[in-house]
Amino acid sequence: MVFNSIDFAIFLPVVFIFYWFITNRSLKLQNLFLVFASYFFYSCWDWRFLSLIAFSTIIDYSVGCRLGKEEKETKRNFLLCVSILVNLGFLGYFKYYNFFLDNFIAAFSFFGHKISHNSLNIILPVGISFYTFQTLSYTIDVYKKKLEPTKDFIAFAAFVSFFPQLVSGPIERATHLLTQFYTKRTFDYSKAVDGMRQILWGLFKKIVIADNCANFANQIFENSASMNGSSLVLGALFFTFQIYGDFSGYSDIAIGTARLFGFDLMRNFAFPYFSRDIAEFWRRWHISLSTWFRDYLYIPLGGSRGGPWLKVRNTFIIFIVSGFWHGASWTFIFWGALNAVYFLPLLLTNNNRRNMNIVARGKILPTLKELIQIFLTFGLTVFAWIFFRAEDVGHAFQYIQGIFSNSLFTLPDIYGMNEALMTMFFVGLFVLIEWKGREGQYAIENINTVVRRFNRWSFYLCIILVIYFFGNYSENIEFIYFQF
């Protein structure tokens, strides 16, 4: 059940009514209902994988309880290892088994050893990378004594499976989300309205921006060998907005939905394409994952302390692991490594925390310097996305080679140019709205400051009509991050 489906349009109000009008008498009942609704939501993809979530929930709950009682260091370490092994074991098997197998075989073949093998036909459970990391954060926080282990199994199960963010994040921390399941939620009008607004904006990003861009990005990447340079540049740009609209759109819908139920989820995107350097970009892109890796991998490795060599090592590790988290393919590893290369000069010259504030805060336009910085960072990001989208590393290099050919200065030649121009128009409009609203949590948050309801509603209606008339409703365009 995807967010931009009729099924979800039916599911959401039904759950909302049950949640606020029927199960609101008791906190336990409300949490239990959320578990039930979340399991139902997930079962619409594949009910068989519910057992994975249930198993992961039981293991981490039990490990958490034991960690709370256990004082001996060796036993605590053992318990932590159990949780990590179970969670990463599932992830490793479902997501990386074939990748490692194929690469081992390739490596042995390279040295002249022929090994016969069979790759397994493994279906990747939707959202496994997201809920695995979420439950892991709980065990690690309990182990580090940053968090008291929960004794409320229902609340914990609801935390692991909470449907708005179950399949594509934001990857929540127990310290932030789990504690919200302990207290009774009261309905907050402004929060709910804000949630609805964010859902609407998320749908616009997904259906109008991402899915329309996907049409052309797919066409160009799939036929890149026969495309001219300017078309290839256009393809990379389309993909850049596709992935942003897709993933940040999903996050907006998730955050907005959670707000309808009285929950606050962490922010996942903060207008990353207006970043002035790559370090800022990574503070603004997929924030829940970046901070997860920072807290549970980068800092334990030593972070940016120590000598330059250690800094370089840690930076490469975190970026490559982050790339590999996205998928079992060398393209993601290359993408991660390329971002590490972008990031390192800033880190080594201590300039990585230079741009912490919002660009051109309180102003209509950025300065020329800021504009150049934004364009440069954006260009580097677009270039890196080519690796992310390509079928394999060879394809990425062939694509790049195609860009830097003589045909770069010819007119783009793609099928459906009128539709492409219309998509570009909406992307331009989208960028303007995002720029205007960059000081809020999401672009249209500040519309609530418009006093007259008529004006606000007219704006919402315009968005709905644009989604209706110009959205792409192809069945085969899923959220990109579902595959991760």
Partner: protein, 304 residues
């Protein structure tokens, strides 16, 4: 909570009003007679706009033209099931044109409206039935076809405000054979790009066609495929491109009336590159259905 529900209720009212306007528009513009049908015949013709151009000329030969523009094999399967339950159908003529298994047809069809002809038995569970028939079927906001039609209508209105609408000029006002050859070729190429967007055919549509064949076989219905006449310009543009619906029929020993090249030298029979005009449609019906409903192929008629 009360004020939240109240605000939502009012907003919903606004959306319902827009929905009613859209539904009214779509009925007036396009789908007004989609549900019209007759159950008094024993022979039916199911096709897309190629069949629509035959109008009701077929009725004097006992064949009800149940075609509708953009009908896909999904829609035709629904109509066939409906006919099975409500009429005494014994013969079915169905389009097997080159484009009928196109991905384009998988996307552009009448699924939102053909739900009218469905029953709960056509779905794997009651939820899908209610969703398709009473939610998608009734709410214009969920109908992708509706939005395409309204969008096209608004575009054409805007265009006519600023300049003469070229499409209307070519398609409706100027007879096809009077249009310059270069323009005809251009129109044919545009149509070709629309109907043949990829090399691969739609497996979903193919599955539906096979189901139609099986239903006919099971219910002892005589099934005959028809390939409608195309203009010479469109045939040249097509070359040998086809998604091979015809092959599926031939492999199963089913009759196909291949009339694709029937009017290759008679441009005056066409309204545009791939649709017959009234005169052409009349002549076509007279030629194909006059003598017998069980003719084997167009060439046979031509030789007569």
């Amino acid at each position: 909570m009360k004020s939240f529900l109240k605000a939502n209720f009012y907003f919903l009212i606004v959306l319902i009003i827009i929905n009613v306007v859209f539904s009214f528009l779509i009925n007036a513009l396009y789908a007004g007679n989609y549900k019209d049908h007759s159950l008094d015949f024993d022979s039916y013709l199911l096709a897309d706009s190629h069949g629509v151009s035959l109008k009701n000329f077929t009725e004097k030969y006992g064949i009800y033209n149940f075609s509708e523009g953009s009908d896909s094999y999904f829609d035709m399967k629904r109509k066939l099931n409906y006919l099975l339950n409500h009429s005494n159908i014994d013969t079915l003529y169905i389009t097997v044109d080159d484009h009928t298994l196109s991905i384009y047809r998988e996307k552009m069809n009448n699924l939102d409206w053909s739900t009218y002809f469905t029953t709960p038995e056509d779905y794997s569970n009651i939820y899908y039935y209610i969703k398709e028939k009473y939610i998608v079927g009734k709410i214009a906001f969920f109908q992708t076809k509706t939005r395409s039609v309204i969008r096209y209508y608004v575009y054409s209105k805007i265009k006519t405000l600023f300049k003469k609408n070229k499409y209307i000029q070519v398609g409706c006002k100027t007879p096809w054979h009077e249009i310059a050859i270069g323009e005809r070729i251009k129109e044919s190429k545009n149509r070709f790009q629309l109907q043949f967007p990829s090399i691969n055919k739609s497996t979903k549509l193919e599955k539906s066609l096979l189901e139609i064949i099986n239903i006919c076989k099971k219910n002892n219905i005589l099934l005959i495929g028809i390939k409608f006449p195309l203009s010479i310009e469109y045939i040249s543009t097509l070359g040998n491109r086809t998604y091979k619906a015809e092959e599926i029929f031939k492999m199963r020993g089913l009759q196909v009336l291949d009339c694709k090249s029937l009017y290759i030298d008679q441009s005056e029979y066409f309204a545009n590159q791939d649709h017959l005009n009234e005169k052409g449609a009349y002549e076509f019906v007279e030629l194909i259905f006059k003598k017998s409903k069980r003719m084997t192929c167009c060439n046979h008629h031509l030789n007569d």
